[in-house]
């Protein structure tokens, strides 16, 4: 086994990893960590999407929304399979962890309360997923993950298209549907911004980057997401606290990230700046729907009462 420093250099120079025998402990740990976040995020998006998918306004919409759920479960399956290759037990990961032990992104600890929120989640949150995963697909040093992501990227593209199509429809249909869409975006947009984590200048070092498990930094990924989401926001004339800054040639936020979030009312308090350690505490203590969602996956029964 090469030294850690030499190993990282080799990875930066394009070395690909196929199996655990080639990994250092540090690499394996970093890989497990990101795969757990990825698998849990895919998995928990399914119960998050579930209620509104079953209440979709038409049969066609219902079929599309259930297909998104199927895809997300399949993507979770992929991540857990990869974790299994690293020595974890798939069944334990899915069925035997406590709700607070799941490492999914905070966005999927939220209740999705109407169809406008559901399609906005497809259009905004799945876009965040695409940004993260396409970086890994292009740049990762872990070959089995790279291969598996072909399916994922393809399917996420469809979710995005579905989300965008419906967002367009709601924006143009009536004042009422437009208002519901705007209300969904009001809390989902900053959620998407926060998705990518701590800014680069606050983060001292990043194992996942050094091992080239991923290729882009948090800020680069966030900028990617903004540059893909903002044109749609502009096209649909939706209000979001961000704009393109001609001088700096990038999208900039109109608030000082991070700010406080009131999960009960799904409201961001833009005039209440907090620290990143506050954000991480909020993530760790999990959001309002965390227990319900994990329970839906683990219970083996259906609660028929609506």
């Amino acid at each position: 086994m090469p030294t850690e420093k030499r190993f990282k250099e080799e990875l930066q120079n394009g070395r690909m990893i196929e199996s655990t025998e080639e990994m250092t402990d540090g690499y394996k740990k970093a890989l497990k960590q990101i795969l757990t976040v990825s698998g849990d995020t895919e998995l928990m998006s399914a119960p998050a999407y579930y209620d509104q998918s079953l209440n979709a306004p038409s049969m066609d919409a219902r079929a599309s929304c259930v297909s998104v759920i199927q895809d997300e479960l399949g993507h979770g399956h992929i991540a857990y399979r990869l974790l299994e290759d690293l020595g974890e037990d798939r069944h334990e990961l899915i069925y035997e962890r406590e709700p607070h032990e799941f490492r999914n992104t905070y966005g999927f600890d939220q209740h999705i309360d109407n169809f406008a929120e559901l399609v906005s989640a497809h259009g905004m949150f799945d876009r965040a997923g695409i940004v993260l995963l396409s970086d890994i697909h292009e740049n990762t040093s872990y070959a089995p993950w790279k291969r598996a992501l072909t399916k994922v990227s393809k399917e996420e593209q469809f979710h995005l298209r579905h989300g965008e199509t419906w967002m367009r429809r709601l924006a143009n249909n009536s004042e009422k549907t437009r208002r519901q869409l705007q209300e969904a975006i009001d809390w989902m947009f900053p959620m998407g911004v926060e998705w990518f984590g701590m800014p680069d200048d606050k983060k001292k070092h990043d194992d996942q980057l050094e091992y080239r498990i991923k290729g882009k930094s948090n800020d680069e990924l966030r900028q990617d997401w903004l540059s893909r989401a903002m044109p749609l926001m502009d096209e649909l004339d939706l209000d979001v606290p961000a704009h393109y800054d001609e001088e700096r040639e990038k999208y900039v936020l109109e608030y000082d990230m991070p700010v406080a979030f009131d999960p009960d009312n799904k409201e961001w308090r833009f005039d209440e700046p907090i620290s990143w350690s506050d954000v991480i505490d909020r993530w760790r203590s999990r959001g309002p729907a965390n227990e319900k969602y994990v329970n839906m996956i683990q219970s083996g029964t259906v609660n028929v009462q609506v």
Partner: protein, 254 residues
């Protein structure tokens, strides 16, 4: 298009409504399976059932039925679904032993339809159904081993309900109105035989006994020819709310 013999519309309506409910139950259980593979299977089958419904609804529209009504804007008692799907609120083994015979019964009924203009549609549905039925049988085999009591107890209830959907035993070659009208190429009695034979064979070497199953149910006198079932039960109001998309009506696009 409006040349179906009269009882055929109710026949296809019962298949369609059963498939609406299959789609609903598959989707409801798509997160509650014992493995991720089972969840994925449920979500996949749900879409396929909705796909079948979408096409069958068009055919029924062609026979003069109202599209909104078809798509769920009606009372629970107006759904002609198999009674086995009214509610499934036990555990996963009960769920499987409820949907499996129902999906199979609905497929046998479609397969018996003898009309050139529906040939392609039914062939296409059969491509999906092959995998639904394989999945159920493969799963019933493993569950017959793990939890024979639940499977047996559930089947004792759901097999007769599925048989009621196919039609009463009295509907043989000489008495089945659909066969008589040439809409199907086999009478209900023959489909019932094939159906019963299939399950007898599937469980032959297992701990699940089908001896207590009432293979002759329902008596024709108790059978409702419109809803193709023998009891007055119905799905829950909550199911209709979801199926018709009422909660998100505001977002429906025409």
């Amino acid at each position: 298009m409006s040349d179906w013999p009269e009882p055929a519309v109710d026949y296809v309506q019962a298949i369609t409504d059963t498939k609406i409910l299959l789609g609903q139950r598959y989707a409801q259980w798509s997160l509650a399976g014992p493995s991720l593979e089972d969840d994925i299977g449920g979500a996949s089958a749900a879409q396929e059932e909705i796909g079948h419904v979408r096409q069958l609804v068009r055919e029924l529209e062609g026979q003069g039925r109202d599209p909104d009504w078809l798509n769920g804007d009606r009372e629970p008692e107006e759904f002609a679904n198999a009674a086995s799907l009214d509610r499934i609120d036990g555990n996963w083994a009960e769920y499987l032993a409820s949907i499996a015979p129902t999906d199979r019964a609905a497929w046998y009924m479609l397969d018996a339809i003898d009309r050139d203009d529906l040939d392609g549609l039914i062939t296409k549905i059969g491509e999906d159904e092959y995998f639904h039925l394989e999945y159920h049988d493969a799963r019933l085999e493993t569950l017959a081993d793990e939890d024979p009591e639940t499977i047996q107890a559930t089947l004792e209830e759901t097999l007769p309900q599925a048989l009621a959907l196919i039609g009463p035993a009295a509907h043989d070659e000489s008495a089945d109105p659909l066969y008589d009208a040439g809409f199907t190429d086999r009478p209900a009695a023959e489909l019932r035989e094939a159906f019963a034979e299939h399950y007898r064979e599937l469980f032959a070497d297992t701990d699940v006994s089908l001896e207590a199953v009432d293979w002759d149910a329902p008596p024709i006198g108790e059978w409702d020819e419109t809803r193709r079932r023998a009891d007055a039960g119905a799905i829950a109001e909550a199911d209709v709310t979801q199926i018709s998309g009422k909660q998100n009506e505001l977002f429906a696009m025409n």
